[in-house]
Each structure stands twice: as structure tokens, then as C-alpha cells.
Symmetry: C2
Subunit: 373 residues, 2 copies
């Protein structure tokens, strides 16, 4: 059994399903709802670990599949484990490789035993089973390990969805049985596509296994946002109240608030970092495209009251950096976007504590130019 | 006339020509000998301005030619001038474009009037004259403007060297006459290749013009280090004692100490930043190539007592970042190398103050594996 992990409710919003809590781990507590920046290869692209901390992040994510290929989990372990490797002493969550198995690898074979596929780097054969996914994550030494899941593409016929769901439940059990580290908690992953019956059945069977946390997987894979929100509508209530709920790989700022008001606690997404590298900055008035000529002579910062290092410069300077291919452009916009996401979640937490989440939600959505029901 | 600039001698080493001083500017004093990191396009590649400051830099350099092409000096002026643009409130030195005219541009015509050449970006025609070089630098608002000089390639016949020297002196006068800002000091540039007579004649004529500072240009353009040191041997004593001396575009750590012991006060070079981006780290034991397999499982930092952000990680992690093409590799090695250069100059200043520069010089050169005379 794992020790030192737990979810503590601080306040439940009376006007929505949003909840303010703390996810307690041996490496510190995470105020939820929370956003985890993505450090795919043991680095948040473009930021020193101090710069990551300065955005307000309390917990980061790293990718099992990518680290297993480069530099290899035994190298990470020999270099002191993932925390020492990347210099992050807070909690780290690692995914299982299930999503990369779906999105990146040239899959050659998948069955109940596991998956064999070709690496996207050099085409070499790579095997992933529930046991191997846990073995890698234990070598990395993350605080939270995700079970190996089978992600189905959307849209998808019901038989395939059901098979992926059954396999995900089977693999969750095997992951749990494979665990040898008491300092690593495993989160189960609910699959089932957009189908209510499958989602509820999957949630029920996984809940019976009593994992320390539950993720909602298989969303943000191309479906309409409204389909994702509808799926959250029926999936969130099926998850245990006393465990953290993690919506994997989501998403835009509006997706985060839609999920928070349905009761989600944890998020990760490459959007703030990837979009930042591509000159897109998130703001309360919606995204800014910094390559646009309109910013050429603009003395204003991205946002007046943002404490990030980008917002000490003018939009004109930031545009210049991108036009001149200076590394500092991606660096600064990555810092801004991660700071923006952290500020957004911090504001959401404050709004829930003040029992005013719906008003906060409406204000933000209006600022972004979103339609509200 | 310019106000608020001056050179103050703190201590002269008794065993060499090394001198510890302060270069006073309206934006603060610079402890000399000093190294200026290069911010070609208004950014030190890969570092936020706070990260630049954290390396210990007191003064930075930026490039007139590059900024005139992108984003254009009028844009920089409209965005508050170069200091506000890049967020650096300390002194900034801008070069004149003379070196890029030599190294980068496809030169079409150069005569006493000026130079017309094609931009390396888009092939458009670009004119540079002494008056235009000062006009651009005044629009940028740097604290120290360099006069436009004519850099001759090495090796070079004496007639061409003499012509470039004469033109450099002519242009220095015209730059001085073109100045309209009292808050910007101009440095003259001594040319003359490796020829003693030309160097001394150039230094004498420029000294008579009483500039606030003097640079030694036209070195580090492919000649042997020993030729550069020999040229410094006779050029440094020909420069005024009461003005800062700046060796342009130099160089390796050993070049810096060789120049310091001959009486040079200021340096700039892309080597720490460019080499850092290419996985080379400077250390007291000589350079480390981080892509080397030997570092794969190495838990040691680049240097045990270095305060830079790279040295909080293992060499194994730094190697991984380069192998995985993570931006953080270039970022961290840039920070390390600039910190290394700043530490080296800080140690040199302390050694001069302690009147022990030769012993310091020998210790460092031995560590780098250099032969000492």
C-alpha cells in the first residue's frame, strides 16, 4: 500500500460541482484544481526549473514513453531518479505511455498481454505491458504513476470502445499487482469514449479497485468540446468523492473552467508551452498572435498585471524576438502562458473558496469571447 | 560634449600591465577588466534579462547593423530605446556596423564616403556612413557608441591596411562631428592589422582627438593568437592611460587573460553564448563537450562551486538535454558559460587588487592546459 497520499476537500462550490481541495503527497501538497506543466523529456521546454517554479506550478508531469527511449529509465535512475535528474523537488506525475502508444508509435500489435510497437525515434521495437509501464515508472521514481490504458480513437464503434475499456480495467489490476514502491501512488484511468454506459461501467469497476486517484482518459482526441463536456457531465459524478480527479491532456483555458465546474481537480496539457513556442499568448481577452504586424510598435505588455518575465517587455519587443528567430521569444511566451494557466487556476480556487465559481466562470468566458449557455 | 563618463584606476598590478579600474557611465559603473555578453538583436540568445544579470554582467553589447535591419532603429526608438526594449537598465555599448560590413554583408562598394552593401537577410541595399552609423546608434540610445571603422582582412598587404587605417581615422572624426546626444559617449577604434608602425600611428592620431574610450579592432579575424598578443604588446602602451581600453570581439578565456595582463579593460565575444548553444562548457579544467558519451551517467555538475543554474544539474542531465534537442540544453550552457566568463573576470579583478595577477594567470593557464612562456 502507498503511504502519504490523500485528497482533502476544502470547499465545494454551491452553484456548481467545482471543488477546492488539496492533493497531499509525500513531496508536498498540491492546491486543487491544479494545472501540471508538461516536461516530456524531463524538462519543461525552454524553462529552467526555477522559472517553472516561478510560474506557480506545484506539480509537473513527465512522459514515461519518451524517457524510456531517451535517455532510458535506467540512466534516469542512475542519475538519482527523475526528481534529482530534472531538479524538481515537488510531486511529479508520469503518464504510462498509453497515450503515446495511441498517438505516436507505429503500432504493430496490441492484445491483452500488452503492445509491441516501433519507436518514433529510430524505429526500434518497443514493448509495453502493464508490468513494464510500472517497472519504468518505478525506475523513474515519480510520485504518481499512471496505469497503462488502451486509448481508442474517436469516433469509434462500440465494440472497439468496449474492448479498449475491458483491456484498460484488466491492465489497471495488473499495474496495481505489479507495484513494489510504497512511495508511488497509482491513478486508474477511466475510458469509454463518449458512451455513457461504458464510462459508468468503467468508473464503477475501477472504483471497486480503490486506487488513490482517478483519471478521465480518451478525451481531447479530436471530438467536439461539447461532446467532451457532456462526457464529463456523466463521468465526474461516477468517480469517488474522496479521491483526486484528473482530466488527461486538457486543454484550452475554457476547457479547464468547463471541467472545473464539473468537478475535475487536475489537468495537464502541452498547449501553453507548445502555443507559446509558436508565438501565441493567452490573455484574459483571448489569445494574442505575436507575429501579427499590429504588435510591431505596441508598448503595452501582454497583460498589465502579469508577474511573468515576458510582461516586463513590450508586445513590440516580443514580436521582434519571434520575427528575428530569437530563442528568447519562445522562452518568454512559454513563461507567460504557464504563468497564465497557473493564475487562472489560482483564481478559480479563490472563486470556489468564496463560493462564487459561476460568476468567475462567466466573467472569464465573456472575456475570452465565448458563448455561455 | 558627453557627461558622466570616465575611467578611474583602482590598482595597477606590479607584475604585469594589468589594471583594475572602474568605467563610470550615467547608467552605473562597470568594474574593469569586464566582459560584455553579446545581445546581437537586443537579446542575449537564450537568456531572460534577469538571467543575464544573474551571471554577474554589468554591461552588455548590441549590434547596430543587426538592429537596423530588424526591427529597424526607429522601431527600437518608438519602443522606448534599446534599454527599455530589452529591459536592461545598465550600460549598453553598440558597435558601429563596421565589423558586420567586413564579415557578413555582400559588400558592393566602399570609399571614404561610406559603404553600400546588401543585407544578409533579404539582399536589400543598405548604406552605412559614419554619420549614418551614429544616427542609428543615437536612435537606439546606447550609452557607448562605436565609431564606424574599416576592418581589413588578415593577412593583408600594407597599402590596403594603410588605406583602412586612414579611412578609420577620417571616419572617427566624422562620427565625433555627427554626435548630437550628450548622454552617449563614442569610443574610437585603432586599426592597423599586425603592423606596429600603423597601429602606433593610428593610436596617436586618434588619441589626439580625445575620445572617451579607445578600442582595438581588426583582431581575432583569423590570425594566430601569438600575433594578436604581440600586437597588443605594442598597441596597449600607445593608448591613453586615463581612458578605458576595449579589445573588440575577443575571445577565449586564455585570450582574455593575455589581454588583461597587457592592460585591456573591456571585452566582448559570442564565444560563451555560441559555444554554449553547441554543447561546449567552459571550466577551469578546460572545455567540456557535453555530447560526449563519457558524460552519460555522470552525476557531477560542470563545476562544483559554480552558482549558475546549469551547475545544479548533473552532466548526465545536461548531456541528455542536448541529445534530446531540448532548448534547455543551450539555455543552461549559455548561462554557465557567461557565468564562467564573469567569474573569470571577477577573479582577475581580485587578483589585480591583491597585486597577484601573474600568479593567478599562471594558475588558470595551467588548469586549461596552456603552455606558459
Amino acid at each position: 500500500m502507498t503511504n502519504g497520499f490523500g485528497y482533502q476537500l476544502v470547499h465545494r462550490d454551491s452553484g456548481s460541482a467545482a471543488r477546492r481541495g488539496q492533493f497531499v503527497t509525500p513531496r508536498g501538497a498540491v492546491d486543487t484544481p491544479a494545472f501540471m506543466p508538461v516536461g516530456t523529456l524531463g524538462a519543461i521546454k525552454g524553462l529552467t526549473i526555477d522559472a517553472v517554479r516561478a510560474t506557480g506550478a506545484q506539480m509537473v508531469l513527465s512522459n514515461t514513453y519518451h524517457l524510456a527511449l531517451r535517455p532510458g529509465e535506467t540512466i534516469v535512475r542512475e542519475l538519482g531518479g527523475l526528481h534529482q535528474f530534472m531538479g524538481w523537488d515537488g510531486p511529479i506525475l508520469t503518464d504510462s505511455g498509453g497515450f503515446q502508444l495511441f498517438s505516436l508509435a507505429k503500432l504493430t500489435k496490441i492484445n491483452d498481454q500488452g503492445a509491441i510497437f516501433r519507436s518514433h525515434i529510430d524505429g526500434s521495437l518497443f514493448e509495453l505491458s502493464p508490468e513494464r509501464a510500472i517497472e519504468i515508472q518505478e525506475a523513474l521514481g515519480s510520485d504518481i504513476a499512471m496505469v497503462l490504458d488502451h486509448v481508442a480513437p474517436l469516433p469509434c464503434d462500440l465494440a472497439t470502445l468496449r474492448e479498449a475499456c475491458d483491456r484498460t480495467i484488466l491492465w489497471a489490476k495488473r499495474c496495481r499487482d505489479a507495484a513494489t514502491r510504497s512511495d508511488q501512488a497509482q491513478f486508474a484511468i477511466v475510458q469509454g469514449g463518449l458512451d455513457e454506459e461504458l464510462r459508468l461501467s468503467c468508473a464503477e469497476q475501477l472504483t471497486a479497485l480503490d486506487f488513490p486517484g482517478y483519471a478521465i482518459g480518451g478525451l481531447s482526441v479530436g471530438e467536439e468540446p461539447s461532446d467532451m463536456y457532456r462526457t464529463l457531465d456523466f463521468t465526474c459524478p461516477a468517480l469517488p468523492e474522496d479521491k483526486p480527479r484528473y482530466l488527461m491532456g486538457v486543454g484550452r483555458p475554457q476547457d479547464l473552467l468547463e471541467a472545473v465546474r464539473r468537478g475535475v481537480d487536475l489537468f495537464d496539457c502541452v498547449m501553453p508551452t507548445r502555443n507559446g513556442r509558436n508565438a501565441l499568448a493567452f490573455t484574459d481577452e483571448g489569445p494574442l498572435r505575436l507575429r501579427n504586424l499590429i504588435h510591431q510598435r505596441d508598448l503595452a505588455p501582454l497583460e498589465e498585471h502579469c508577474p511573468c518575465p515576458a510582461c516586463r517587455h513590450s508586445r513590440g519587443y516580443l514580436r521582434h524576438l519571434f520575427q528575428a528567430d530569437e530563442m528568447l521569444g519562445p522562452i518568454l511566451l512559454t513563461a507567460h502562458n504557464l504563468t497564465y494557466y497557473q493564475r487562472l487556476l489560482a483564481e478559480a480556487r479563490a472563486a470556489i473558496e468564496a463560493d462564487q465559481f459561476p460568476a468567475f466562470y462567466r466573467k472569464k468566458m465573456t472575456g475570452w469571447g465565448e458563448q455561455i449557455d
